[in-house]
Amino acid sequence: MNHQDIVAKLVDILEPLAEGRVADIGENTELTGELALDSLRVMDLVLAVEDEFDISIPINALAEIKTVGDLAAQIETTLSANA
């Protein structure tokens, strides 16, 4: 799965959580800034992402994740480490 495929899957997961705050979610959309997800919602997002991709993402890794693209990169790294 390449980076763009991962971003596309993340957009599907994020759209219901965004409640219309951002019309066009993409690579550079900020999770806490533009999407206005609070810390708890971001952690719940991680639960969903872990299940979607069947991987582990420690919540301490979130400190480095600001955008949808950052999260996709983290997933990509984890998937390639598991492969």
Binding site: D44, L47, D54, S56
Partner: protein
């Protein structure tokens, strides 16, 4: 001096409450009258928002023990146990706690918050994995952060979800520390500890249970939910607090681990904190003896919890969990919950307002805590105050 930008953001939230003229997070009890009554805004108020589950804060035996220690050993220890020396009472309390739980050893911390910080940060570190329930108390989250370990959340009270996440760890699962609570403080719901113990065994992992809200309330002699569910032997570390059922302040961990005694040297929240004062240690030792023998108080507590739960249920309120020492009334909207909380206070009943993100599911709630010291009349008065609310019931 210029304003701190982070505190300015907090100030803005406080201002929002101030404009409503309601301050649920700055309540002052001007005078405490008993375990269940205090003077607030000059009004005699029923306290249904404490964690005084057994009502031991005014227990004459406990007060006498504290007074004697105060006179004999002074007001404070003025330092940490490691740097400045333990008093005999600190170790005696640890021996008492180990005996109470039938575990090999115990360690005492200066608060319940620090017990979680001190245990988690000493047991795991960078490169290790901690599995925590999604609805964990802030002290568990903060302990994880202090440890530097990788933190994986699993869905609340869901052992199958934990097992799924353990499987993803592969060989690392055997080294994982699983942390759950017995009773969750927001809704009062109980953990399926038997299921969690089975997952722990399946992977050969380590299990820690925080019994802050279940010690003294549940189990034989008040040993908590793990005892009630028959899995105390499977819990590697039981963490608890002196500030709820025991009516004092402080925290502890009991364990069969042969390393518990040296853990104290690896636990920064233990090493770098002043130890508990002699009066608190003596009072807690006495309160522990009282708690172990207090089957009568546990029965009164359960009867009060059932009376409140049934009363509020009959009024049509949505409640968080089956009858328990914590009875949570789900309100939903934050502003509605705020007005409801204020209404109760003006009708002489103090409860806790809880709002997201501390609460699960993004819902605001009114948390009532029941005490063995409440009279049936006080429970009925709490119900009557709730009944007088004319707003939405959620």
């Amino acid at each position: 001096m210029r304003e701190n930008p982070r505190l300015q953001a907090v100030q803005a939230v406080r201002q929002e409450l101030a404009t409503l003229g309601i301050d649920p997070f700055g309540v002052q009890i001007d005078r405490i009258l008993s375990p269940t009554e205090g003077l607030i805004h000059g009004r005699r108020t029923i306290l249904a928002g404490t964690n005084n589950y057994l009502g031991l804060t005014f227990d004459p035996g406990t007060i006498a023990a504290a007074r004697e220690a105060l006179e004999a050993a002074g007001t404070g220890t003025t330092g940490s146990r490691m740097a400045n020396g333990s008093y005999a009472g600190h170790r005696e309390l640890e021996v008492d706690l180990a005996a109470f739980y039938g575990k090999r050893d115990a360690i005492v911390f200066s608060t319940g918050y620090q017990a979680n910080l001190g245990m988690i940060s000493a047991l795991v570190g960078t490169g290790d994995v901690v599995m925590i329930d999604a609805d964990s108390h802030a002290s568990i989250y903060d302990g994880c952060r202090l440890s530097g370990a990788n933190v994986i959340r699993f869905r609340h009270n869901d052992a199958a979800d934990l097992a799924k996440r353990m499987r993803r760890l592969g060989d690392d699962a055997a080294n994982a520390l699983i942390v759950v609570e017995g009773v969750y403080s927001m809704l009062g719901d109980r953990a399926p500890l038997g299921d969690f113990a089975r997952v722990k065994q399946e992977f050969g992992a380590t299990l820690m249970v925080d019994e802050a809200h279940s010690m003294g309330v549940l189990g034989s002699k008040g040993r908590g939910l793990a005892d009630e569910q028959g899995v105390l032997a499977d819990v590697d570390y039981v963490v608890g607090t002196f500030s709820k059922s025991l009516g004092n302040t402080g925290g502890f961990c009991v364990s069969d681990s042969p390393n518990l005694d040296v853990l104290r040297y690896a636990s920064r929240p233990y090493v770098f904190t002043a130890s508990l004062p002699p009066a608190t240690i003596a009072a807690t030792r006495q309160a522990l003896r009282t708690l172990a023998a207090a089957d009568d108080l546990r029965l009164r507590l359960q009867n009060n919890a059932e009376r409140l739960h049934a009363g509020l249920g009959a009024l049509g309120f949505r409640l968080g969990a089956p009858a328990n020492a914590v009875v949570a009334v789900l309100v939903g909207d934050k502003i509605e919950a705020l007005r409801f909380w204020d209404h109760l206070l003006k009708h002489g009943v103090y409860v806790n307002l809880m709002v997201p993100p501390a609460t699960p599911g993004g819902e605001s709630l009114l948390r009532c805590s029941v005490s063995a010291a409440h009279t049936p009349g006080q429970i009925d008065a709490i119900c009557a105050a709730f009944a007088s609310w004319t707003g939405a019931k959620a």
